[in-house]
Amino acid sequence: MATDTLSHVSHSEIATTVIQPRRPFWHLELGHLWEYHELLFFLVWRDVKVRYKQTALGVAWAILQPLMATLIFSIFFGRLAKMPSDGVPYPVFAFVALVPWQYFANALTESSNSLVASQNLIKKVYFPRLIIPMSSVVAGLVDFCFAFIVLIGMMFYYGIRPSGSIFLFPAFLLLAVATALAAGLWLSALNVQFRDVKHTIPFLAQFWFFATPVVYPSSIVPAKYRMWYGLNPMAGVVEGFRYSMLGKGHPGPMIWVSAAAVAVLLMGGVLYFRKMESTFADIV
């Protein structure tokens, strides 16, 4: 397995780059990654700009997606199946979960194929490859912002006043971003080596959707299992969002289980990605 290390030779101002086969992949080289932060923003800017230039609906799509889902769920789960909704009107209940969920699902789909989609870049230009799945994950935040604005509007419409807990929502957003990134790193690296991974993503997203308390409250999960339920990091994200925006139902220790699960998933993802990184240009 071949890699490179960066070492700064003290006696000259010019950095010396050493290219050699052996490198421990646990050297994350985050400082080196920071050098390319401008590129990250450019790639995000490109993805966002291109998407909005191409789609006729443009911004509207970012809002229509969660709104239409909310409509369907409100009819079938909220009204007909009479799903409990933690004392909040079902549409808000579903929408506040759909906003982070759809960010996650879209980021997952985009990032898992990101390396293969950028094969031209990977074969011709050098930059830390982590930037690629990262840019997919960050680009999704733009859509998230528009959906979030609609969420605020919806809350006012239903007369729900935000409480002090609303200041916690950035923490839960960060949790969602971390989960999307973790999953994206694993899947994008796997997809380079096993091309049919891309086809499993829709199934994975659906399965994950039902394992996450989007259309139902996590209170339907018996108390003794709720800690294990938190192993799904998106459960923590969604319940955390509901808590911070609507001020109801503190998710409890489940949050910490989710946070721990994401930390492990993310660390593992970064290490696996770095391990496989040296093979990308050869097999992508």
Partner: protein
Amino acid sequence: MSSTAIRAEGLSKRYTLGDSAPYKTLRESLTSMYRGAARRVRTLGSGAQKKQSFWALRGISFDIQHGEVVGVIGRNGAGKSTLLKILSRITWPTEGRALIHGRIGSLLEVGTGFHPELSGRENIFLNGAIMGMRKAEIAARFDEIVAFAEVEKFVDTPVKHYSSGMYVRLAFAIAAHLEPEILIVDEVLAVGDLAFQQKCLGKMSEVSQAGRTILFVSHNMAVVEKLCQRAILLQDGEIYFQGDTEEAIHRYMHKMLAANQAEGHTFDLSQTTDRRSNVGKLLKRVELYTGDGLPVREGIRLGSGLKLKVYFDLPKPTRSFDVGLGFDSMFGQRMFTAHSMFEPDRQTAERVGPQVFVCDIPSFTLMPGLYTVKIWLDINHALADSVSYAARVNVFESDYYGSGKVPWNGVMVLKHNWYVENPDRSIVAG
């Protein structure tokens, strides 16, 4: 040590040969795991089945000092692009290592990352960022880039509306303004029209004169000769020669010809694989003779006669067939083409089977040097067989003008006379 820009120590790269695609699917992996286990049980004791591999590069070592311009030449598949990819950190060496002092800018392809929906302006920033420039740098050079590419009027139109020439000019313009300490360039000058290529060459000279180090791969020997002080000749993944540019080019040309079986004046083409044959290996051999009919050994003298006997085969009876000979200089420039269709006494009888065409050049007036001969056979106005480096002609100096002085300048000699005229327009003899 600090004046060395790039030091390569035993760089090697191995690729495993295998299935059509280097990647797999999970399904394949799982089934092959099962099959592999079953096979191992069945063939216990017999030798392990090894995956085939080949070394794209083996033991490459060289030093490039700051400010040097070094060319990398070699046949297709010699390992040039692999070497550049390793130095650009796109792929990794299997063995060996390289030390690089300074910021590297790699031009392995122009227009990487261009998005057709974005405008020229947007692509300049995007592509610049991809190539490693900071936003501030790009902004500072924006006007220069647009001027170099000559796309001022179209800078806000989506790039998908650009002509291919504009696209390439813009891509190169961005890359040309990179300004890293070390520039690694892979054949990207082979784009655009002649005027643009001149511009690119000019920019490269500028960059080298500014004291930057350049490592440059090209098939265009004229450019390599012009820009590079040193050259590295790669052959089958190894360094065949490194040193003076002219000698490296010379050895490269010799190597190209060595693919044919050559014995003095006879060049056997029947086994040559490096050819384009639409009908078959019809060109059999070519023999070189001087004007007096003597076999050409070392070469011919400037101005001497040259006869080329081309032996070929016509598989089917045909009336319309012609042989072409192209004489190319060491730099790949076509100096002269001889074609049997230009023969005024051309016979058009129907022929079949082995043929011999003789091209009789009364006086070979190309300047001293090494020329390679490309031979092709047209049947019914369509190319039937062609060999690129079929033969070589070495031209030596001679007193062509009979003046006691040997011509040394230019690409050819032409018979001419000088007269003296009196101011009153009468000619003075002698």
